[in-house]
């Protein structure tokens, strides 16, 4: 049953560009990118109860890091560029995570919100590097002899990276560090009583979350092809939070579903123009009222499986 579902899922994902209309290939890439961010955010919020309204900032750091690297050093292979984007962003996650340890709930939300604004300001002020408000055009990345100029080629890169990161997140309990991280989500008290250093792991959650988001930022630069501070406004951060709430806190499958729902929703609401925020807000509230545990828990209620940690 599970293998069959996985198999048909893989067929759909791999065959998608050959079957779906072209625009949906691009849209699917955006969904995969947002899913990576949502997983990253869920590692922080769902697992260690640290709420962040600043993930657009992390996405921006990853995106600009990857874009600048592609421009300055076009010979660096794409996987290395994405890794670098992730690592640079992870370092920022560490820098933000340590001072945020003392903060909880609303105060943490405010601090991360402020972080998002600071990143946008920094992009504006470093205009000799980032071209500020004018925006930065990202040249097509290359993998060996191939330039990634089509939506399809970029789609395959994005889903490959997303699959690897989903796999890593799902297997996180196989490592001592990953288990400790998840243990903090399950019970802070028991985790501490087991000798898990709470502060270290909460900071680690920031770092890992930022890494995921930074890699997603690199893919964002690749897929969108143009960056400007306007790309990374606070509403994007709110969208990410909406994804994990709609999808389900602490759930990897839920993160992916939440990213799919919110991205598609945003896309289909673009035509509602000035009513967009209103409609979006209403849908969010309704789904939170009637699906408090997100899609993941709603699915589990329909189809309960023992020991599934999807």
């Amino acid at each position: 049953m599970r293998a069959a579902a996985l198999g048909s899922g893989a067929v759909v994902v791999l065959g998608w560009p050959w079957a779906a209309p072209r625009y949906f290939v691009f849209l699917a890439s955006l969904i995969a990118i947002n899913a990576i961010v949502a997983i990253g955010l869920n590692l922080l919020t769902g697992y260690t109860n640290q709420l962040s309204f600043g993930h657009a900032g992390f996405l921006a750091i990853g995106a600009y890091a990857a874009a600048l690297l592609t421009i300055q050093a076009p010979l660096v292979p794409l996987p290395a560029t994405l890794l670098a984007a992730g690592l640079v962003t992870a370092a920022m996650g560490l820098a933000l995570g340590v001072p945020c340890l003392r903060l909880e709930g609303l105060y943490l939300a405010m601090a991360t919100l402020a972080f998002g604004f600071v990143v946008v300001e920094a992009i504006l002020n470093l205009d000799w590097l980032t071209r500020g408000n004018d925006g930065l055009r990202v040249p097509a990345a290359r993998i060996g002899p191939w330039a990634l100029t089509t939506d399809t080629s970029r789609y395959y890169v994005v889903v490959t990276v997303a699959a690897l990161l989903i796999l890593a997140a799902r297997n996180i309990t196989r490592t001592r560090t990953g288990r400790a991280l998840l243990a903090v989500r399950e019970s802070e008290i028991a985790a501490q009583a087991s000798g898990v250093h709470l502060a270290a792991y909460k900071t680690l959650a920031f770092v890992v979350s930022a890494f995921y988001t930074g890699v997603a930022g690199g893919l964002f630069a690749l897929v969108v092809g143009f960056l400007s501070p306007d790309s990374f406004d606070v509403f994007l951060s709110v969208d990410f939070v909406a994804m994990i709430i709609v999808g389900g806190l602490g759930s990897i499958l839920g993160s992916v579903m939440g990213a799919a729902v919110i991205t598609t929703l945003n896309d289909s609401l673009a035509g509602f123009q000035s009513y967009r925020p209103l409609v979006f807000g209403a849908i969010l509230i309704v789904s939170m009222l009637f699906m408090p545990g997100g899609i993941a828990s709603a699915l589990q209620k329909i189809q309960p499986r023992q020991g599934d940690r999807a």
Binding site: R179, S187, A190, A193, S194, H197, G307
Partner: protein, 245 residues
């Protein structure tokens, strides 16, 4: 040789609210000591102060002669203090095995296998269920898991918080047997327990807490005979349980 645990004039505050005030108690090596008291008297807080989950505002906590009052929780675990928290706090979405592995967070990797063997020897049912999600275990099995998890780093002092809570009499007897066996292996035990009768039967000595202060202490037999203890905690003479006067 210094006692397993010495708590000296410890006070704990949650924000401004007093939870413990001037508590002093000792657990000798190899001893089982029980801590009695009504809900909110400060029993769990005492255990949490020892394992570093809350900080004492005043006083000293000494483990085997080492002052651990200011040590971080992970260092206290590594030093040999195990804590089975109130409500068991198992990692419900983890498998039994993963729960034990988190318990062994401070254990060197090459010793993990041997520690798991010990746990499974002590609780054979956990071996059967090792790949099952811990949240699907029965209450008794969850309690065993919580104890087994705390034993992974081979503690020399075990803090047990209400191990029989919510368990059927037969099961709680089983848990108490386990505690006795652990103690027989040389582990000192500080036991918080709502079933005062059973706790006093198991412990050599006991302390009674009321609203954060110690009000009585002594050998179990003596406490069991104390009319106040009888009335308040042993449910005798028709008094309401937990309503200390």
């Amino acid at each position: 040789m210094r006692p397993a645990l010495e708590i000296d004039d410890v006070a704990v505050y949650y924000d401004k609210r007093r939870a413990l005030e001037g508590v002093t108690l000792t657990v000798e090596r190899g001893e089982i000591v029980t801590l009695l008291g009504a809900n909110g008297a400060g029993k769990s807080t005492t255990l949490r102060a020892v394992s570093g989950l809350v900080r004492a505002a005043r006083g000293r906590i000494v483990y085997e002669g080492r002052d651990i009052s200011h040590a971080p929780a992970d260092a206290i675990v590594a030093a040999g203090v195990g804590h089975v928290p109130e409500g068991r706090e198992i990692f419900g979405e983890f498998t039994v095995l993963e729960n034990l592995l988190v318990g062994g967070h401070t254990v060197p990797r090459r010793q993990i296998g041997e520690r798991l063997e010990e746990a499974f020897r002590l609780f054979p049912v956990l071996r059967e269920r090792r790949l099952q999600a811990a949240g699907t275990l029965s209450g008794g099995e969850q309690q065993m898991l919580a104890i087994a998890r705390a034993l992974m780093p081979r503690p020399r002092l075990l803090l047990l918080d209400e191990p029989s809570l919510g368990l059927a009499p037969l099961l709680s007897r089983e848990i108490f047997d386990v505690i006795r066996r652990i103690n027989a292996d040389g582990v000192s035990v500080l036991l918080v327990e709502q079933n005062a009768r059973r706790a006093l039967a198991l412990a050599t000595r006991g302390y009674v807490l009321e609203t954060g202060r110690l009000v009585a202490s002594g050998p179990s037999a003596g406490l069991a005979a104390d009319p106040r203890v009888r009335r308040a905690y042993l449910g005798l003479d028709g008094a309401r349980r937990g309503a200390a006067t």
